[in-house]
Amino acid sequence: MKLREIAHSRTGDKGNISNISLIVYQQEDYALVEEKVTADIVKEWFSETVHGDVIRYDLPKLGAFNFVMNDALGGGVTKSLAQDMHGKSLSSKLLDLEI
């Protein structure tokens, strides 16, 4: 099953740091995501573009997680050579993760 079936997501950017929220539709899926979608798994999933640490913050009351990915935007919005310099499309890639 793809993560997209049970959760939704949005990406934000600050400088060269990208954060991706991951929010379960149903609270009963929270534990599964908590177990399967670790910071290490996410760092591996984005290994082509994320070169720094990935930290996961847990928000059980919202049924949500916040992944903060360092050195993730090719030097930052203003100087990145990427077409999507904000990394806005990273949320869609996260939801493509098979769990």
Binding site: Y57, L62, N66, V77
Partner: protein, 447 residues
């Protein structure tokens, strides 16, 4: 219990105006907030101000205010905005002129200044940019702007003194909403709990439609009604900090627990420590509850005492970004795009073009995630994109020229070439003590 309503009028500098006007007309709001400054916008505005000292405010200021001012007076709505950008005083002067041309009377306009610390940059020579460790000293000749993120105090002061229109430069986004709350409810800025709640409310509102169904739709998974007509959000909040996020019933879009959660976590790092000039806000215990259709209650926000330091954005020139694209179609399209890439690479090497970094993307294949190229036989079309960063403009120009040369010198059937060269204005940040920044409010009146 006192309750006020604040509408969002813009979530970014070029945002639509119609949803803002609709909220002013039909939303029964006390305030409307136009948030129009991204990290880089102010650096660019500062360059305009350097060329002309009467310039440097938001380019849409006149367009917006010409339509907003009549509603301010007929619907009794006050405006808070960071459209002052690099020049709030000049922005206030322009708003006064527009009001006079409309024969308005009894309008007080405030310009909040103090965020611009460019003239004191020498004082911070030894400071290092948090992002890459570079010293201010090293980049000094390239610096074009230095703006501290200031908080809600100046905005609240302006409102306390009867301002109808409050124009700031680089105020932090949530502070634009927190200012009216401090003024209306007499909240103490030392009350970190209330500052945290107000900041959470501001954070939810600051990106306009991003909490009302904009930037949310994913057909079949997250469907949003009438997204083409998406409305901007309305905050209703009481003096104890109980708050609702909603939208006009006549507008498209939706407010749901899911749209609110996505926006609550948008562009934040540690949810328990969201640093603003006013407070260290804590969203980690937040809860959302759908009260009725498109009305969501948000509770559990809190905060700790502010750090006493202000994040200060340093804008500095860092060369040029050259981009060029060309499309290839049909069988062999990927192979031809790869040949074009090889040609460009060899030509730039031959001419000894000096480039800091270059990147090639095959749009439709790998431009977003650096994926492997797909099965070549199945590709219907591909668009090669070349992006390079250069210190000298001639080197940037050499890159775009080589893309243009692909028409007559490159592989067969390439079309749709587009090229561009942009100045790179990078943004870094330093922390400066709050005591180094003095906020001043200037008033002007249309009698």
């Amino acid at each position: 219990m006192k309750t006020i309503r604040i509408g969002s009028g813009a979530g970014y500098s070029d945002d639509r105006l119609e949803p803002a006007l609709e909220i002013m007309e039909k939303g029964n709001v006390d305030y409307i907030v136009f948030e129009c400054l991204a990290e880089r916008t102010i650096a660019i505005a500062q360059q305009r101000k350097m060329k002309n000292p009467d310039e440097g405010y938001d380019k849409l200021l006149a367009y917006r205010m010409e339509q907003v001012l009549p509603l301010c007076s007929s619907e009794k709505v006050k405006v808070v905005t960071n459209m002052g950008a690099a020049n709030p005083v000049a922005a206030a002067k322009l708003v006064k002129e527009i009001a006079e041309a409309q024969n308005m009377s009894g309008l007080k306009i405030a310009a909040v200044v103090g965020d611009d610390v460019f003239s004191e940059i020498d004082y911070y020579s030894d400071a290092s940019l948090l992002e890459n460790g570079r010293k201010i000293n090293e980049i000094k000749s390239s610096i074009v702007s230095a703006n501290a993120y200031i908080g809600a105090a100046g905005i609240a002061e302006a409102l306390d003194n009867g301002a109808d229109i409050v124009i700031t430069g680089r105020a932090s986004d949530p502070s634009l909403f927190l200012g009216p709350l401090i003024h209306e409810f007499g909240w103490s800025m030392d009350d970190a709990h209330l500052m945290g709640i107000g900041t959470m409310a501001g954070h939810l509102m600051e990106c306009g439609a991003q909490v009302t169904g904009g930037y949310f739709a994913d057909p079949g998974y997250k469907d949003v009604p009438e997204l083409w007509n998406v409305g901007f959000p309305i905050l209703e909040i009481d003096e104890e900090g109980e708050l609702l996020i909603s939208k006009l019933k006549t507008a498209g879009g939706m407010v749901s627990d899911s749209t609110v959660k996505e926006q609550l976590l948008y562009e934040i790092h540690d949810p328990a420590n969201y640093l603003t000039p006013d407070v260290i806000a804590d969203f980690s215990q937040a809860e959302v509850y759908q009260v009725e259709k498109s009305v969501v209650k948000v509770s559990g926000g809190s905060g700790k005492a502010k750090s006493g330091y202000l994040k200060t954005s340093i804008g500095y020139k860092e060369g040029y970004l050259a981009e060029g694209e060309i499309s290839y179609g049909g069988a062999g399209s990927i192979e031809r795009a790869e040949l074009a890439r090889e040609i460009i690479s060899k030509r730039l090497e031959l001419a000894n073009v000096q480039i800091d970094e270059i990147r090639y993307d095959f749009i439709g294949q790998n431009s977003l995630y650096k994926d492997e190229l797909a099965d070549r036989s199945s590709a219907k079309e591909v668009r090669l994109r070349v992006a390079a960063r250069a210190v000298e403009p001639e080197d940037a120009k050499a890159v775009t020229r080589e893309v243009e040369a692909l028409y007559t010198n490159g592989p067969a059937g390439g079309g749709g070439i587009r090229t561009s060269i942009k100045d790179i204005v990078s943004i870094g940040s330093i922390l400066i003590p709050e005591s180094q920044v003095s906020i001043k409010v200037f008033y002007s009146e249309v009698l």
